[in-house]
Amino acid sequence: MERPFAITLDVGSSRANHTGSWRVERPVYLDYLPPCNDACPAGENTQRWLYLAESGSYEAAWRALVEDNPFPATMGRVCFHPCETACNRVKVDEAVGINAVERFLGDVALDKGWELPRPGSAADGPARPGTASGRRVLVVGAGPGGLSAAYHLARRGHQVVVADANAEAGGMMRYGIPAYRLPREVLAAEIDRLRPLGVELQLGHVVRDLAAERRDGAYDAVYLGVGAQLARRTDIPAGDSGRVLDALSLLRAAGDGSIELGRRVAVYGGGDTAMDVARTARRLGATDPVIVYRRTRDVMPAHDEELDGAIAEGITVRWLSTIDRFEGGKLVLERMTLGPDNKPVPTGELEELEADTLVLALGESADLSLVEGLDGVQVHDGSVLVDASMMTGAAGIFAGGDVIAGSRTVTDAIGHGKAAARGIDAVLGGEVRAPATRHELASFERLNTWYYDDAPRTIRPELDRIRRQSSFDEVFGSLDETNALFEARRCLSCGNCFECDNCYGVCPDNAVIKLDGAQLDGPPQRRYVVDYDFCKGCGICAAECPCGAIEMIPELI
């Protein structure tokens, strides 16, 4: 077509006009640290596996999860999920049910028989097929920390032996957590999955002389994860009639059914263990267990859902009470008030509470006899001191879990095990990796929550109350697939592109290019790049990015 000069133009010719020169700020895609990841003591890349789960790529999601934590089915049951506490979605409606999705993935993995990654295949470690390092590591204690360390060490190509005094592996997971929260077959199955990695479990093996053990076994390093087994006691005058137990003994005995409790059980303490004890007592036949706690609910260390679970099962709490004495089937309690700094202050007021058994759930201390006398190992306030790589003052001896100071949870222990494995690997001649730079936190303020649809979280199925009071059946059921998918899709993907196409769509200058990146472990990843030839720097993409993954950065002038 012969086109008239100037008034008729060929389509799309304006692409010759590079409007990028107008820009004073440029949008840049960044990856921020999601608060869930940030809060996870086990260092899970929570958002990543939720992202994969969202597309129904459950195996990919599970694989991303076990990069950090080999026990999803377990953790999906027992973790106190600080990820959910940190979750930004709380400010929209309710936190994403991350823990429930983790459990779903863990259960699907067990169901399908998915195997953990092969030894020497750590994504964040050196590539060493099998046990190619030729190094041996002794892990003392087959609790969550020890097993986690063993797993991560095995994946780094080291030969690992786990020694534990108990007859079964699992540590507190096995002996401290009631079965209604964690069915034993689930735990066993996840622990068994470690064996193909070459992790050797020496159960019933009591380690008494660490130096000798290390020398005899030619271990290049040791991880100490013996936990805290020594029940803390308090001086309560008690007559003959009063039966006083400690929490760990009770829980352990309940596990093998070797205990009879009276009808009236009082539990002294305010942590999760106190809740476990009271609820266990209920299942063992106590008609009305009572928890005695010195302070008030808002300062109680037990997690809300544990307390709620206990109350739902008919357990009562005597708030602001201490036990003065235990005599003649009666507990004498003293009323307290809260003083400054939430310290309980006695009032002198006394009252009585009938009780056949008093269980003390006042916490446990680590048995540090194993490290006594070891050169360099420093102990402070009942805890072993470790450095950032989890190494004690003694070369090659690492420690984690309840023996070190800090939060005493299964999740923390798993995180310690992983960190220690990394530290041990470094000591054993692996590459010394600089710790990954922690990205800036993806704060709620970064999000544009308009785009997220209203979606209250899914309620996990709960066992009915009658059965909860009489059996050790698991209280919480699993999410079915639909619910798990729903829950995963509630993730806001804080601070990380999740390919909603908003930037691609809202750019008035078509200056966002949609990529078509094939991805091995999931659906094609279609992130975006900015075409700076045309981007005028208006910032709409950043303002309208739901997850706050775009930052406007001033152009250098």
Binding site: N17, S57, D454, F498, C500, A511, G539
Partner: protein
């Protein structure tokens, strides 16, 4: 994620998870077990609000999420940073292009859109496009439509587009004629509420109290006067044409849906799209979509559609906002705030918003109320 698959009210209001289910096809095999069953994808993550979703079936995606969208208005145009009209025009025409299978001709009135898109020697359009004059886009489109009809090109759809000046003011005569004859044209008004091309002067679509270069924020009644201006969508409805709709650049799904629906209809259709102008409104260029959203969430810009002269659906307000939230982010209303500010004027604007909410039943509590209630 087509809205026509959904109960309108539920989606508009956000609704319950079940109602808000976007119904977007299936995800195919779940996990690694092909037999695990097919299920409907739910996008609670971004609901039906974001442009796209990586999990959506390609056939259900918005036009704008499509890597092969036509980009009817391409890069290199000379619109200001954050131009709502550039965005709205691409949204609308890409949607129309998809609906028409690429068989589309667009006619453009004089105005920003025309000036920034086609300065010799470059054009940003990738479609057959004609600019004639400021006032005559509807008539020119009528001519194009007539030519297509006489040539048997029933496959070609004709779109005319103009800013608010070219629509409600200078172009209204031609537009009304086009409506009245029920010519086979989809007319799209990109309403940025003033003559932006010439430097922000008042138009018949300028809201009360807004500062423009011809309604300065001076004197006892600063900004555009109250009690003036044209509500063109309702005037269009009064012509009894088959389709009238309002939309904004803040709700792409709604906009695309309406444009696609309108494109495929016959006769005179009118879609009125609110397109904020960072320059004229005095908003940050990044806030173009946010301010459009607030226009809807305050009720000041009701989003609805009408067929044959009657309102058939409204987009409910999802998160109702006071007008201050909307006015406060625009410099053209800056004289209403600060010390001493003009709370009396803000209250009058709030009354306009309340009226609009009542008239169109924009809140669930108003659902079912009679739409007509006094003059705006």
């Amino acid at each position: 994620m087509r809205r026509d698959l959904l109960p309108t009210d539920a989606v508009a209001a956000g609704g319950t998870p079940e109602a808000a289910d976007t119904g977007a096809g299936t995800s195919g095999a779940i996990g690694d077990d092909p037999g695990a069953g097919r299920q409907r994808l739910r996008f609670y993550q971004v609901g039906s609000f974001a442009v796209g979703n990586r999990l959506a079936d390609p056939s259900q995606r918005t036009v704008q999420s499509d890597a092969t969208r036509s980009n009817s208005l391409d890069s290199g145009h000379r619109a200001c940073q954050g131009c709502g009209e550039a965005l709205g025009a691409r949204y609308a025409l890409d949607a129309a292009m998809r609906a028409a299978g690429g068989q589309l001709v667009a006619v453009n009135a004089t105005g920003c859109l025309e000036v920034f898109s086609t300065p010799y020697p470059e054009t940003s359009w990738r479609i057959a496009w004609l600019h004639s004059l400021f006032a005559n886009a509807p008539a020119v489109a009528t001519g194009v439509a007539a030519a297509m009809r006489v040539k048997g090109r029933s496959d070609v759809r004709v779109v005319a587009q103009a800013g608010d000046g070219g629509t409600v003011d200078i172009g209204f005569g031609c537009l009304s004629g086009m409506f009245e004859r029920n010519d086979d044209v989809l007319f799209i008004c990109y309403d940025n509420e003033a003559y932006m091309n010439t430097g922000v002067q008042r138009s018949g679509a300028t809201p009360s109290a807004a500062r423009t270069a011809t309604t300065e924020a001076i004197g006892p009644d600063p900004g555009a006067p109250f009690g003036q201006g044209k509500d063109l969508p309702r005037l269009a409805m009064a012509h009894g044409i088959p389709y009238v709709a309002t939309a904004t650049v803040a709700d792409l799904h709604d906009l695309e849906d309406k444009i696609e629906r309108a494109t495929l209809m016959r006769g005179a259709r009118y879609v009125h799209v609110l397109v904020p102008c960072p320059l004229g409104w005095g908003t940050a260029s990044a806030d173009t979509i946010a301010v459009a959203r607030l226009a809807t969430q305050t009720g000041l810009f009701p989003v609805y559609e009408a067929k044959n002269g009657s309102v058939t659906s409204v987009s409910k307000i999802r998160r109702v906002q006071p007008v201050e939230a909307y006015l406060g982010m625009q410099k053209r209303f800056a004289h209403l705030f600060g010390t001493p500010g003009r709370p009396d004027i803000v209250a009058r604007i709030q009354a306009i918003a309340d009226d609009s909410i009542a008239r169109f039943g924009l809140l669930d509590s108003h659902a079912g109320e009679p739409a007509e209630r006094g003059a705006r």
